[in-house]
Amino acid sequence: MSFLGYPRADGSVGVRNYVGVISTVGCANDVAPWIAQQIRGTAPFLHQAGCGQLLPDLEITTRTLAAVGQNPNLAGVLLVSLGCEGTDVERIEKEIAATGRPVKKVVIQKAGATVALGEGLLIAQALVSEASQIKPQEFDDSHLVVGVKCGGSDTTSGLASNPAAGAVCDIVLDHGGTCIFGETTEFLGAEHILARRAVSKKVADKIFKIVDDLERRVRASGGDMRGGNPSAGNIAGGLTTIEEKSLGAIAKGGTRTIQDVYNYGERVKGKGLFIVDSPGREPEFLTALAAAGAQIGLFSTGLGVPQGFPFMPIIKITGNPVTFQRLPDHIDMLVEMTAGKGAGLKESGEKIYQEVLAVASGKQTKAEILGYGNFPGIYTLGPIV
């Protein structure tokens, strides 16, 4: 099977063809959308990071922005900088340029926001003109890179939409493509099961390590994720143990071998199934997927969530028919409640996979059409100072 995509100089394939207008620090968050609102074909990337962070967090911010700028869906990048931020803007420029994408920069502290805006409009216009000359071509589906996520979960998530998303992952992988999942918080209690699917002991150890590290950080902040799970609400909904809750969550990653584990904000290399160490919260997690190189996100939900992403189409699936009816502006597909097993599961997986191919070829998702999802975030470990 195949899809229509945009070839990139680094060998990746975009399913969209945007010019990214990327804020390098929270202080540039006003100018970046001014430019993006006026110049068609651009997509803004905003966040609150890049200043008043400790060095380990500034490293996360820098590597994440560099990786976001290399996402296959971006044909070029305009960086909007304040000037004095802690982010290593030069490194971001260099790393994006190394992929063969045009990358330009405007700096607010040079002559003010209005001048940066004027310069930015002209640069963005030229970049879009350049991008528009890239013609979509047919690529076989081994070029697909799909990120998977669940959120706003309810009882139907673990029974229907997560297993269905997992079935899609299995298809993507069996066709030679790549799938990425994460949300380390949701591995708790099932990490030993994920570790059994690791390609090597080294990768299995990485899975245990990211869970251990997370628990240590949570304990240092006075929390206890394992003891507090499942929550009273989970138990009322029928979940009995943390193993059961986590198994329902990780079902979205399918059943195939896990090739490697990456840090937050790193670009995934190679093909197959990968884990990115990441929180479950939408703004930060969807950024992790974009940074990892995902072209498309597959989002499993029970209660229904609105999030999209500025330049990565997000397909929403739910197993809850009430949610599907209630939120026609947000949810792309309904999965049958009995989809979580056997023949029904395979059928659901195939149906959603066809939608993934259609979206890859240009079909707009609900979140894209609505323009929902302009407030992504970047993960931080330490305090804001």
Partner: protein, 101 residues
Amino acid sequence: MELKEEAIVLNEKDNVATALVDLEPGSSVKIDAGGKLLTVKLTSRIPFGHKFSLARIEAGAPVIKYGEAIGNATALIGAGDYVHVHNVVSTRGSAGTEGGA
């Protein structure tokens, strides 16, 4: 259209099913367990999203869903019994969470 299923078995290795509708005590539920058709008579009310046993589970034996152990039985669980925090304990939770936190 096939008959609307009242409960789902997610993996053929599972020894529990999850109710897809509220189920009444004494009712006989027909379940497709990996192509094998089972009939289980329920001993108590099983709310939507909650679990019941497909067969006898000895005390201390694993309770299996998604093809994996989700915990161990703390008492003998008979076929059709309600399976939840009163008779299952996690093996992966932190100390003192018996019965669920």
